[in-house]
Symmetry: D2
Subunit: 377 residues, 4 copies
């Protein structure tokens, strides 16, 4: 990770002001490996919050903007202007902001899902960034070393031809009606889009399953529910999946499963072996070769490694969510510096597929769980 | 458990000869609490095996029969004839044997699923047993103390109104083509019926979910697969469920999930709380009240109990599969002696519902995963 | 297990009347594999309890005795007299009863520790049983299949030369002053002997460590404590051990470690590998070869087996405490029938060593934790 | 954490050049919360390595020193000189370097153990730092939020009067003879001091136990071993402890326990409750109130908190070793800025006690495990 003598990349941020969870996470991720320096921000749509947040983050007063458009315009003409920007707003702002910066030749790091509407996502995917500006979608769970190792193991045939995928992402924080900054926009279709749980965490589980298995989705069969009265978007997602080549899957995401904090779980089974991993113990992964005892692989331990599986500290000293997130930032720094893409990093195309997944799930659910192709939405 | 001075119930067995897994299990279950004495058997359809098996079990030569019909006829007229019989054959024999004994006034303990064909199950449910002979279907997982406690906790409102049910039963023993006594009949539609995995273990997961939650199934949406070439029945089952009152569920059963031995898992979530239990650690159950830390309830430990939750030994000394199975036997002994039914014990009606579940799943899967009511098959 | 056509061994019991925990356990253990039939008992020192308990167990009235001496005398001259007896009383009765039956030519199954006093144990070890009557000490944890497999793995060199042994047995049931049948005699030096926790569960941990490793103890260094005011015996045991050949160990047993039910744990490390096992998940054992990932061995699963590792049901269906206990009974039935000893079964010599361990621990603790040889007490 | 608008503290580093594990860890810890900027270093005793390492870290050429003495001299007179320094060398360099900077009025962050010799540690503790320069000893495990919560729970009486402490720190990386930068100095008494395993990880386990319980050590009884032939220091540590007030403890640390990576474990039991925590799952802690079910407390989850228990991200998203380490850095930044000490942070006095613990353990072990007071060495 970094420490190669390279100069820090000048970073801006859109969203992420006081009270933001994900903005704070992005900033830590940007700091961990020392590849970025935050120098500008449009940290809130509320000007007072934006200014105060900028001050807390040590931004120069003239680089603490009140709109992303102003920031894109101003920074793109400064000699010391930002080279990259992190977009950490509610979903409906992603595309407009991403477009503004990409068209200004500034690299974009964007939170997921890519948009609140599929058409917006598609439009964004169609633009031509100035000066080849790069784009990173922060499906951060792909940064966990053992998930990258898993991808490598699948790709190299250690599991044989895949048959089954089981993905889960249960939470319980919305089991009752809740009102706070985090909950409000996520349950407001104007800001989150038509998907609630499916967009917020269902896409993470889906993306991770696709990342690790490399399987192409054929169709999905969905049953979305809303359990908390008055809620306008889904808060529980049951989905069955069919993949090209015959593999089958199930995906469960929930915001109302009492007793679950962030229970992201991925299990993959092939003709020769199986893998099991859960985010709340991210330094461990179970691997079984058919007919052999289960093996507990550990991050950095015996039989570890795999392309891009970044390990900062020795096995047994746990790394976590922030390090996994930081790995995306570190890898993207390398992309920015070298101009060379990294196949492990989530792209605009992944963002569009995520939106298709959301829309297809909602459509299927509205049509009596009809099997629906992602390409049909 | 027993040790009340009561005389042992004279027991016969159909099936369960040399090489049988489940016959051996039933015999241990019958012995554990001392309520039964095995005195007769039609232990195999192969006369030589039947005789030799009878000898090994210490049966008198004249009570080791070569057909269940002979046994029913002979035992029902002996003064010291069997009072109950355990039927532990492949599925297609269950109904004929059960009928013969019930009509002879002999109590029946029958392995699951109830039949190989739904119509046979229904027919059996329609007969009138002689002398009020009783019937027990050995959905043995309902005998686990913590599953009975879970049922009690749900019924008493500890979880609030139920929202979600997640049931799993993954195995891997049929991940490749296998030939042996256990595998052969289970993958032969003539003997197992139209369901493979769905009948063998899917019904267990389904029954347990129904037992614990008390929810009535509205409809199911199924995607059954056969991964091993040449296999004539399903070996993986993905199902979504809708329950009356709005709860939703998922059920996954598999015989090809490499790394799973007998991974029966049940998770139930309501408005106020959640429960999680897995068979491979059956003396532990997670209970979470919303907003509180997870609690690890243990069999016989603090906050344990519940109707019929039989505990033989202190918390921390693990009980297992055989004790849970034995509890069904012990409870049924009490039914036999008292003539009074026990609402905790699986019945003929449960057996018919299990067959409906199998048929509905197969029909749904064949009809593009159409939502299918159990009452429509 | 059994089911070989052999006749059941006629069994008697001393102690184990109403309210007894361990008597009930022995009876289930005796029933599980069908090798014994309980036909006589001196079930309590209280005649009324003895009679009522005998009735509940279905004993003939004339075979429900009020003293073990009467029972030994009467049964040894009956044609259909008991062939074996289970002694399940408080410690101070063990030796007298064992002697009476051995000298009457009746095989003895005796609970541990062997005695309340070392000299009694030694005396018993010196007698000559009539007709070669056999003796079994129920250090039941040695019956767990994975502990027998562990012993086998150690013996066959899978761990290399042993270096470290970590044994634990924490409980919490005596964390406060408690009065009931179980607690009272265990905390009464007249009945339990000079050791409290050390005798009741410390000996189990010690015996299991010795069983699995085969290491000979060189000396121990002990620090025994009594935390509950007024208690006359130790309720916490800290011990360091040195074994012949240079291996070192620690042993912790406690009755006051809040949050522990019966947390027996054994960890063994050698030059080439390590093993870890805990009773509350007895169907799993961790095995690590140096430089390789940890493997999760399961009872009956891949890479299982080993001499005497009795497996009744398939991997993933948990067996527990009662099955492990029953394995000692089943193995002893084979010893009785064949007249041939089984090196896996705990003997009188093990019982004497257990008493030496207790006494050495108490002496060391009283002498400022001086290293003490077992042979010096 | 930080993000308060405060200027970054200018940091230097002694040691931590290419190939260093702990230097890299300190740098990440210093970056995570954005409170420090590394601007100078004496990164290696090898000048070429020092220079190259400085370049990789982006240090100005003239601030990449080849000796800590030069660095202390030069930086203390620069206007923009370092305000704090991290000392991350082998043990024998700690004291000299710490002294140089403290006497130059530069705050010191020093890795543990404090010294290679007790007398050096005592001498350091006796100096008077210029301008009240502060000192932090990085016993990093005290930075884990759940360990701070545990300390808080103990202090507030949730466990009642303490009775038992069980601390462990098993590893296996030195199970065989190993030669590399990390192993070499740790097994060289000239650099590590008289303790091997006891100094490297035994002190961590000891410090953590002291931090959480607040118990004062009365005496220890130790048995240190060296299993790998030719090794000059201990590689396995068995210790029994007595605390003032009557509590007892055991401490096991090992570098040869095959299958353990960094298995730091702490268990504390009092009259009313028990706590259990292990580093490899640092976001979970078991808490049991006597007579109640075990509760799984999670970092940031229900019933969390406690003084100084820094939580960056929501429960269920794991934080790890680096975040715990960073918390010490963040807290120390606050100490530097405010001039006000923080009772949670490890001090020089803790460093001296750690050295006493090492020396007392070695003395006890050499004297037949005689109980030894820390104050007697």
């Amino acid at each position: 990770m970094a420490e190669t003598g390279a100069r820090r990349i000048r970073l801006g941020m859109v969203g992420g002001g006081t009270g933001s969870f994900i903005g704070y996470v992005h900033r830590i991720a940007a700091r961990i490996d020392g590849d970025y320096e935050l120098v500008a921000g449009a940290l809130s749509s509320n000007p007072a919050t934006a200014k105060e947040s900028g001050k807390n983050l040590g931004l120069a007063e003239d680089r603490s903007y009140t709109s992303y458009a102003d920031m894109a315009a101003a920074e793109s003409v400064r000699e010391d202007g930002i080279e990259a920007v992190a977009i950490v707003t509610p979903n409906h702002v992603h595309v407009g902001a991403a477009r503004a910066f990409l068209e200004a030749g500034i690299h974009v790091i964007c939170d997921k899902p890519l948009a609140s509407k599929l058409e917006d996502a598609r439009e964004l995917a169609g633009i031509k960034p100035k000066n080849g500006a790069k784009f990173l979608l922060t499906h951060n769970y792909t940064g966990y070393p053992l998930m990258r190792q898993a991808r490598d193991m699948v790709a190299s045939g250690k599991l044989g031809k895949l048959r089954l995928v089981q993905a889960e992402y249960p939470q319980d924080w919305l089991a009752e009606e809740v009102h706070n900054k985090q909950a409000d926009w996520r349950t407001d279709p104007e800001k989150s889009g038509i998907g609630g749980c499916i967009g917020d965490i269902g896409t993470h589980a889906y993306n991770l399953a696709r990342f690790v298995t490399g399987l192409q989705t054929e169709a999905i069969c969905a049953d979305l529910s809303t359990f908390v009265p008055g809620r306008q978007v889904d808060d529980n997602v049951n989905i069955m999946l069919r993949f090209e080549g015959g593999a089958r899957g199930m995906l469960w995401a929930s915001q109302v499963a009492v007793g679950n904090e962030n229970g992201l779980l991925l299990r993959v089974y092939g003709e020769k072996g199986g893998l099991e991993w859960r985010q709340d113990e991210p330094n461990k992964m179970w691997f079984t070769e058919f007919g052999q005892p289960k093996q507990l692989l550990t991050r950095g331990g015996a039989i570890s490694g795999g392309e891009g599986a970044a390990v900062r500290i020795p096995a047994g000293h746990p790394e976590g969510y922030l390090e996994a997130f930081a790995t995306l930032y570190a890898d993207f720094a390398e992309v920015i510096r070298s101009g060379k893409d990294n196949a492990l990093l989530p792209t605009l195309a992944d963002g569009v597929e995520g939106m298709q997944f959301i829309v297809a799930a909602v459509h299927s659910s509205q049509n009596d769980s009809k099997w629906t192709r992602l390409s049909d939405v």
